[in-house]
Structures are given as structure tokens and as C-alpha cells.
């Protein structure tokens, strides 16, 4: 009985915070748009009894999903989101790995401070930090002013309101999520492994590729998923830093919901996004599982 209670808590949690909202969104995605509050029908009328329920089920259909396949805006937005998230993840890895590596090799008394510095940005609002990037990347912003003053460029670069700005924003925002898991794997790595590799004839560089890198693979995979998964559905960054040609599904969803007030289509977009995300989430879970098993 006690065991049951213990297991029940997380399941109730999941039910309340994930499954119920999911079912509501799924239901809305199968409804039709109407001019009412809330702006969709049918609505479940429990007072009508069983007949009312049957009526309600009958009224649900896949129209919205069919609509998503007809307008190429949607699949283009999905693809473009996946691509932007993918490229940003690679850049984040390229930037984050050396940082994590440097932290793990720093003197032990410095590590807590360095870790603190990585986490420090979370102390200010995410929104403010993205706004700050607008100030940096704008045509008359900090970056362009500096480059102009140094004489590296003659006219300001158009960075803000482009996909590049979105990628910069994503890399900046999600960098800690890449650094921390990689740092965790590198930090617990036994340094004598590298000495052993050298002793057996490796150069420093080949010791890195043959020992350090494969041993940090778990951290790399975890970090990549932690960046990739939320980046796909990212909405704030593309709407603040991106331009009209930066197509991301999070932004599309927001517009469907708030500008068009088309809740059913917005819900369908969300459901498909979730379906797309399930694959990397499952892969991520598998990686975590494997890491845990290897750790014991």
C-alpha cells in the first residue's frame, strides 16, 4: 500500500501537469473555430448525458490537421525550426565544449567560481538578456559601432532581424545547458587515464580524441538534447531577434493563437510539435539511462 502511494505521487503529478493539459489541447485541435468564448466548438456539455457525449465526439474531426498539410507555411516552419535548432546546437557544442573542458581542467579551488559564472546569467530575467542582445546586434548597436570604430567594416552589418541573430540568441541562452552536463562528465574523469594513454604512446591530441572525447560522449549527447529540444519550439528569441523571414514554429503557433485567435489550428500545431519532439526526448532518456548504468 505504501509502495503504491509512493508511486502514485509522481503519476498524479504527471497526470495533472502533463496528461490533462495534453488531452485538453488534443481536444481543441480536433474542434472547429467559432466566434465565441472560448473560440471553438463543440464544447462538452455534461448535463446532456450520454447522448450529449456521443454528439460531442461526433463533432470532432481532423480538419485542422488536414489544413496544416495544405498550407506550406506550416511544414516549412517545422523544417526551418528543426534546422535552426540543429545548427544552433552544433554551434553551442563547439562553444560549450572548450569552456567545459577548461573548467574541468582548472585548479579545483577555481571550479566552484567558474561554475558560478556559468550559472550567473540565470539571475537576471531571460527577457532582459535577449533585449540586451537587440542593443548589441542592432545596426547602430554596440557590435557595429565597435567594428566601425576599429575600421573593420565601412557600413553597419545587418545582423538583428536575421536568422543569424536568432542563432546567436539561442547559443547564448542555452550555452549553460550544454556546458553543465559536459563539465559533469569531464570533471569526474580520472586524470590518470590520460597519463595512461600517453604512457602507451599517445600524443596529447590523440589522447584527447581516444580517451577524453569518447568518455564525455554521454555529456555531449545530454547537452545537445537539452539545447535542441527547447530550441525547436523557441518563441521569444525569434520574435525579438528574428526578422520576417525567420520562420520558426513557436512564432507561428503564437500568431495562430493570439493574432488569429484560431485555437484549434494553434493546438494542432502544438500537437504535431510535440509528436516531433517525442523522438529526441525518448533518445535523450535512453542516453541518460545508459549513463546511469555505466556509472554504477
Amino acid at each position: 500500500m505504501r509502495r503504491f502511494a509512493l508511486i502514485a505521487v509522481p503519476y498524479l503529478w504527471l497526470l495533472a501537469l502533463f496528461l490533462v493539459p495534453f488531452l485538453i489541447v488534443l481536444k481543441i485541435s480536433l474542434s472547429d473555430i467559432t466566434l465565441s468564448i472560448p473560440p471553438y466548438s463543440p464544447k462538452l456539455d455534461l448535463s446532456a448525458g450520454w447522448a450529449g457525449f456521443v454528439e460531442f465526439i461526433r463533432a470532432l474531426d481532423f480538419e485542422n490537421y488536414v489544413f496544416l498539410t495544405q498550407d506550406d507555411l506550416y511544414w516549412k516552419a517545422y523544417l526551418s525550426s528543426l534546422w535552426i535548432a540543429f545548427v544552433s546546437t552544433l554551434i553551442t557544442l563547439a562553444v560549450g565544449y572548450p569552456i567545459a573542458y577548461g573548467m574541468a581542467r582548472a585548479a579545483p579551488e577555481w571550479r566552484p567560481t567558474l561554475l558560478m559564472l556559468v550559472i550567473l546569467p540565470f539571475w537576471t530575467s531571460f527577457l532582459i538578456r535577449v533585449y540586451a542582445w537587440m542593443g548589441i546586434l542592432a545596426n547602430e548597436g554596440l557590435l557595429n559601432q565597435t567594428l566601425l570604430a576599429l575600421g573593420i567594416i565601412d557600413s553597419p552589418l545587418q545582423i538583428l532581424n536575421t536568422t543569424a541573430a536568432v542563432q546567436i540568441g539561442i547559443v547564448y541562452t542555452y550555452l549553460p545547458f550544454m556546458i553543465l552536463p559536459i563539465y559533469a562528465t569531464l570533471e569526474k574523469m580520472d586524470e590518470s587515464l590520460l597519463e595512461a594513454a600517453e604512457d602507451l604512446g599517445c600524443s596529447r591530441l590523440s589522447a584527447f580524441w581516444l580517451v577524453t572525447f569518447p568518455l564525455s560522449r554521454g555529456g555531449i549527447i545530454a547537452g545537445c538534447f537539452l539545447v535542441f529540444i527547447p530550441a525547436i519550439g523557441e518563441f521569444v528569441i525569434p520574435s525579438l531577434l528574428g526578422g520576417s523571414d525567420t520562420l520558426m514554429i513557436g512564432k507561428v503557433l503564437w500568431e495562430e493563437f493570439f493574432s488569429n485567435r484560431d485555437w484549434p489550428v494553434a493546438s494542432a500545431v502544438a500537437i504535431i510539435l510535440l509528436a516531433i519532439l517525442i523522438i529526441p526526448i525518448v533518445l535523450f532518456q535512453r542516453n541518460e539511462q545508459k549513463e546511469r548504468e555505466a556509472g554504477t
Binding site: 597519463e195 600517453e198 604512457d199 590523440s206 555505466a294
Partner: protein, 374 residues
């Protein structure tokens, strides 16, 4: 014992494989190795013995190339190895922690070093199989390090460091993590492998029994200095100092004043006690401070006074440590000095004559102990 005596250190024509020449190693202002000079010969099984922190690992790391001497130099086959990086040295090390690559199978761990120097897959495979057979790991070749036992891991580490057939194999407390029985088995295995491969082994240990079992010579270290370098029997029977005598095995040490005639010394050591008669080749000044060291198994214990030996002392049994095959008697002499005597338990416990509180006589010959100046 070897049939033909293996003692290259006694042969002036023999060239040492490793030479430490006035090597000093400092970490900041801490001196870990202090002006150390040492020769190690090919095919030796050389043991470094000393308390924790005395600089054993530092010596190994200098041989492997992970540390460079602050002063002095180290020669391998007559060549200064200071400029040679670790990956270019014909030296392999078996790490204290084994340092097996967790992401590689046993086979790949063993092949790791071979793959760095050769592309010939057939030859590598052959060598790996040979190593697997030598260390009896063939059955476990496909497993990862975390899927095998501690003893097997230790053998993988050994196989990996032997695979490249180094001139010199360094073993840093290789058996520390093993339980006693497995450790003893492995010691013999190591000796066997050393004999088969002819590799020179330098082994670090803080277990004196282990050093005595496996080594051709033992170096006893303290605070970065060598105190004595000799064969195990010399270290045990003829330690050069109280430190060595005390470090290796059990010993009774009596401090006193010497008076020497020829090779005979009388040691006056306590009021009302007869002087200890001893034999020595060393010279002691009259009334110079000296130490007489004698192993408990060389002290005879009996209930009756036994005048067949020149030294006879009376005392009372305070404690008996029963170790199965032997018993150690802790005896308090008339002046309060404690002395240990050991005897083999050739009879069953019930038939033994000596028990607690018994008045006993301890006796020993004049050659049973050693005279030490410090």
C-alpha cells in the same frame, strides 16, 4: 632461490639499465626526492619500499616521464631520458588505480598501446591473444572493465602495460586493492611473468612482505632518500640502520653504550643487567651510543635458565600473541624493558609450557643480532 646467482649489482662490468644520478625533485619548496643516486639492472625485480609520502610514486613518475627531475639526471641504457616525452619512452607503467579505459573492452585496452605504434592488425591481434593467455583473461576479452572483478582488472592493467614489451615496467602499488590471498597469488604470478618475459620490473609497495617475496633487491626509502638498497635477505638480516630494521618485520631494539675488543662488542644497556655480547664488523668508539637489534624469532624462550647461549636475560610473560604457526611472547625484563621472543608452535596449544605471568629466560647467541650505529 636461483640456481645461478643473479647479482648484476655485484659485477663491476655490468651496465645498469637505469641510473639515477644525484636526482633531486622539488615541488615548490618541498623536496620530494633528495639527491638520490641509484642503479637498477636489466631483468631485476626491484622494489621501492617506504612509508606513504616518502617519494616512491614520484620516482616512478620521473621514470615514466610525467615529472622531470629538478636537479640531476636519469639515464636509461646510458641515455639521459629527460628530453624524451612519456609517449616515446620504452617504459610502461601500471597505475596504482589501474587507469583502465572504461569505454574500451579488455581486448581493446590491451591493444591500445600496440595500435599506437603499428598498423599491422594481424600482428596486434596475435600479441593481444598472447597477453590474454599470459594473464588468463581470454574468456573475458570482450567485457568492459566494469564487468570484471578487481583481480581481473589488475591483470588487464598488467597485460596492457606488458603488451608493448617495454624495457622497463613500472608497477605502482599494483596489488594494493586486492585481498590477501589474491595478492599472494598475484605476487607469484608477477614473478612468473617477469621470468618469462625478462622485463625489468620496478615495483612500488608499502607492504614489506610483498617486497621481500617478489624482489631481487629492495630499496628502503624515507623522506626522499634511500636508506638501504640490498637483497631482501640482507635487508632483513643485516639492516644498516634502526630505521630499516624497524621498518622491515618485527624487531627488538636495545639502546646502549659500546665497548669493543676486536669484533666483539659488549653493550651496556641498563643498570643491573648484564651487558649484551654481540659480534660486529663495524667499529664503535668506546662508550659511543649504539643500538642492538635482534629479531624475535632469534630470541630463545624457556622456563629454565639456558646457559648454552652467551646472552641470558630473565623476565616475565606479559602477553602472548598466538598466530597459529608461531607465537610471539611479550616479555618484561627486570628493568622494565619489553622484549619479544618468538617460537614455533610445534606442539598443540594445550601442551605448551609457557603461559601468562610465567617467569622465563630469554637467550640468544652473540651473532643473532646486529649492531647499529644509528
Amino acid at each position: 632461490m636461483n640456481q645461478t646467482v643473479f647479482a648484476p649489482w655485484d659485477d663491476p662490468d655490468e651496465k645498469p639499465l637505469i641510473q639515477f644520478r644525484n636526482v633531486t625533485k622539488r615541488f615548490g619548496d618541498f623536496t620530494a626526492i633528495d639527491d638520490l643516486t641509484l642503479d637498477i639492472y636489466a631483468q631485476e625485480f626491484f622494489a621501492l619500499l617506504g612509508p606513504s609520502g616518502c617519494g616512491k610514486t614520484t620516482m616512478m613518475r620521473m621514470l615514466a616521464g610525467f615529472e622531470t627531475p629538478t636537479e640531476g639526471n636519469i639515464l636509461l641504457s646510458g641515455q639521459d631520458i629527460a628530453p624524451i616525452p612519456p609517449n616515446k619512452r620504452a617504459v610502461n607503467m601500471m597505475f596504482q588505480s589501474y587507469a583502465l579505459f572504461p569505454h574500451l573492452s579488455v581486448r581493446d585496452n590491451i591493444a591500445f598501446g600496440l595500435r599506437r605504434e603499428s598498423k599491422d592488425k594481424a600482428k596486434i591481434d596475435e600479441r593481444v591473444e598472447e597477453m590474454l593467455r599470459l594473464t588468463r583473461l581470454t574468456k573475458f576479452a570482450g567485457r568492459k572493465p566494469h564487468q570484471i572483478s578487481g583481480g581481473q582488472r589488475q591483470r588487464v592493467a598488467l597485460a596492457r602495460s606488458l603488451a608493448k614489451a617495454p624495457k622497463l615496467l613500472l608497477l605502482d602499488e599494483p596489488l594494493g586493492a586486492l585481498d590477501r590471498k589474491l595478492r599472494e597469488e598475484t605476487q607469484f604470478e608477477l614473478m612468473d611473468i617477469q621470468e618469462k618475459t625478462g622485463t625489468t620490473f620496478v615495483i612500488v609497495t608499502h607492504d614489506q612482505e610483498e617486497a621481500m617475496t617478489v624482489a631481487s633487491r629492495v630499496a628502503v626509502m624515507d623522506e626522499g632518500k634511500l636508506i638501504q638498497v640490498a637483497t631482501p635477505d640482507v635487508i632483513y638480516e643485516a639492516p644498516n640502520s634502526v630505521y630499516v630494521a624497524d621498518f622491515i618485520g618485527d624487531v627488538n631494539i636495545v639502546e646502549g653504550r659500546a665497548s669493543q675488543t676486536g669484533d666483539k662488542v659488549d653493550v651496556a644497556w641498563a643498570e643491573g643487567q648484564p651487558p649484551i655480547h654481540a659480534t660486529t664488523q663495524k667499529r664503535f668508539d668506546r662508550d659511543a651510543q649504539c643500538y642492538f637489534a635482534i629479531r624475535p624469532e632469534k630470541v630463545h624462550i624457556s622456563k629454565e635458565r639456558d646457559d648454552s647461549r652467551p646472552n641470558v636475560l630473565q623476565g616475565k610473560v606479559i602477553d602472548i600473541a598466538y598466530l597459529g604457526n608461531i607465537s610471539t611472547y611479550h616479555v618484561r625484563l627486570a628493568d622494565g624493558t619489553m622484549m619479544k621472543a618468538q617460537s614455533a608452535n610445534t606442539r598443540r596449544l594445550a601442551n605448551r609450557g609457557i603461559t601468562w605471568e610465567d617467569e622465563v629466560w630469554l637467550s640468544f647467541t652473540d651473532t643473532a643480532g646486529v649492531m647499529l650505529a644509528r
